[in-house]
């Protein structure tokens, strides 16, 4: 007779809270009248995120490898990443709360009378909230999962809702649906790679857990062909999620097509989650074969940085530009992965925060710049925005500067810490590449700033909508975090020093 497994729910509570809230959200969809749903969903989601955050804070000093029968590791870095994801998700939710960005009726054919009447009736697809919560739960699980099965499940839990939500834009629905299709097909494709890699890792070590794989490296008398195949294919899956070149190609299209709040949420949180998982896998599972994978990941890091930065130069769409920017940043974080040290981990964690908030802020501002047919994403039409709305333009420029790594913004500290960690671990070449790429990247960030402030304002229908209070709060948070962490990063770094460890 089996004894009941001990799951240690206190440690899993944050994820369970989110999942519970998601279920509640599904029930709300089923049983609550349409008029109330939206507000109720927002409330449930935000409260759940806050509650999960609080619960995480409460258990922050606990560590465990036995929670969930060893499927997850509760350790400093894990908790930290979860906290980051929740914080970013909170801001993301504030944008998502502006349901005006989502289609009134996803099943209605774009342009049909049905759609028009749905819009007229004020319908809303409030399912985005439970979907978002599911995604958040997956994101939280992904970086703390310690076996390949849980990893795979978590990967899917975070991905499926995102596939769906990408297709829910209110305007330009054809594009949005196309984004969903592309994201889904390529995502499933990459999942297959992930799984194939997982199989070979299992084949090599006889274990699905990261520790088991690490042990396998020690004990196995075999050559490492299976291991290498496993690492490569698993990496492909992960690199896809983080948007590293050459597995990046979905990024611009999906970022452009998806509803902007979702893009922001996805860009910030997925990156943190996927990189969190990646860090754990490489730090814990593949630590002892680092000489096999470091050159490969280094090369990918360089290609990613350079490609992202260069390709962004000629982009004319603000969301695509931000997508390429996110690719570049993925390259930078990869540098931290390659550093394979406590400082590298800390740097990566900090980078999640600095990049995440800046990204959320930037996409938040994208939601504000509109004409009668919705958001304006053509950069040419952003020209002269500074004259129309200096505050919004300033905030956007701030985020650009943070992306560019200008001192006194969080982005700079992020880059600095990544470079430092990399340098420390001897990867000076990567630092040099990183530095040069930063210069190229600055080129387009600054061009945007230039255009916004000094471009000729075209007297067209561009307006900057008065943001809803929630959006306003969200953007403000992003601005404050970006500046505060730029000026006084010790707020984070002091705690990172105690937290940035993985349990083995």
């Amino acid at each position: 007779m089996l004894s009941a497994p001990h799951l240690n729910y206190a440690l899993l509570a944050p994820i369970l809270i989110i999942l519970g809230a998601a279920l509640l959200g599904v029930l709300v969809e089923a049983f609550i009248s349409k008029a109330l749903r939206s507000r109720l969903q927002i409330g449930i989601s935000l409260i759940a995120v806050i509650a999960a955050f609080i619960q995480l804070i409460r258990v922050r000093n606990l560590t465990s490898t036995s929670a969930a029968v060893g499927s997850v590791a509760i350790d400093g870095a894990g908790i930290y990443i979860q906290l980051i994801i929740l914080a970013l998700a909170f801001v993301g939710l504030l944008y998502i709360a502006d349901t005006d960005n989502f289609t009134a009726q996803a099943s209605a054919i774009p342009g049909s009378t049905e759609e028009a009447s749905s819009i007229a009736a004020g319908s809303q697809q409030t399912e985005v909230f439970p979907l978002t919560l599911f995604a958040i739960a997956g994101m939280m699980l992904f970086p703390i999962a310690t076996d390949l099965i849980t990893l795979f499940v978590a990967l899917e839990v975070l991905s499926l809702p995102l596939y769906l939500m990408s297709g829910l834009s209110r305007r330009r629905r054809l594009l949005s649906q196309e984004a969903a299709l592309k994201y889904f097909l390529l995502g499933a494709f990459s999942s297959a790679f992930f799984l194939f890699g997982a199989a070979f890792l299992y084949g090599y070590s006889g274990s699905l857990s990261l520790n088991g794989i690490a042990d396998g490296v020690h004990s196995s008398g075999a050559n490492s062909v299976f291991l290498l195949i496993g690492i490569i294919f698993l990496s492909v899956g992960l690199l896809f999620k983080v948007g590293a070149v050459p597995f990046h190609s979905w990024t611009p299209d999906v970022y452009q097509g998806a509803p902007t709040p979702i893009t922001g949420f996805m860009a910030a949180c997925t990156k943190a989650a996927a990189f969190g998982a990646m860090l754990r896998i490489f730090y814990v599972g593949f630590n002892d074969v680092q000489w096999d994978w470091k050159p490969i990941i280094s090369a990918i890091a360089v290609i990613t940085m350079v490609f992202g930065a260069i390709a962004a130069i000629v982009q004319r769409d603000v969301k695509r530009t931000l997508a390429f920017s996110s690719i570049t940043h993925a390259g930078f974080i990869l540098i931290a992965v390659v550093a394979l040290s406590k400082n590298g981990l800390a740097a990566a964690l900090f980078y999640f925060i600095s990049y995440g908030f800046a990204t959320l802020g930037a996409f938040g501002i994208v939601t504000l710049v509109r004409d009668s047919s919705g958001e304006i994403t053509d950069l040419n039409r952003w020209s002269g925005l500074g004259k129309r709305s200096p505050l919004v333009a300033s905030a956007f420029s701030l985020f650009m500067l943070s992306f560019g790594g200008i001192p006194l913004t969080a982005g700079f500290i992020g880059k600095f810490s990544v470079f430092t960690a990399s340098y420390e671990s001897g990867n000076i070449n990567l630092v040099v590449f990183g530095v040069l790429t930063s210069a190229v990247a600055l080129f387009f960030y600054l061009k945007i700033v230039l255009m916004i402030f000094f471009g000729e304002s075209r007297s067209d229908t561009l307006t900057v909508v008065i943001p809803s209070i929630l959006t306003r709060v969200a953007i403000s948070i992003c601005v404050i975090v970006t500046i505060l962490l730029g000026v006084y990063p010790s707020l984070i770094f002091n705690s990172l020093q105690t937290f940035a460890t993985f349990l083995h």
Partner: protein
């Protein structure tokens, strides 16, 4: 015959699946090719399970099936949506987002 043959088969099917994704245009066929890749991975899992003498691989394989099922639901829903708005299930037609 040796067990490695299963792995070769798995690799072959995986490759075929990948090629299918690249060359086929019908979204559903593309997706089926992805399923083929998942199946190839499953075969590898089962083979390795036997090789390593533990059941973890089979468990993984089982989870894959479940997950794949969910994926199929979502995926097909998306494909249907696309089809409804464009009257086409060709992935090449969905190429408005570019450059």
């Amino acid at each position: 015959m040796d067990i490695a043959n299963y792995l070769y088969l798995s690799a072959a099917l995986f490759t075929i699946g990948a090629v299918g994704v690249i060359v086929r245009r019908n979204a559903i066929v593309v997706f089926m090719c992805v399923e083929l890749m998942l199946n190839a991975a499953n075969l590898a899992f089962v083979t390795f399970s036997r090789l390593n003498g533990n059941l973890d691989g089979q468990v993984a394989s089982f989870f894959t099936m479940v997950v794949a099922a969910c994926e199929v639901v979502v995926g097909l829903a998306i494909i249907v949506t696309i089809f409804r708005s464009r009257r086409s299930a060709s992935v090449d037609d969905a190429s408005l987002l570019k450059r």
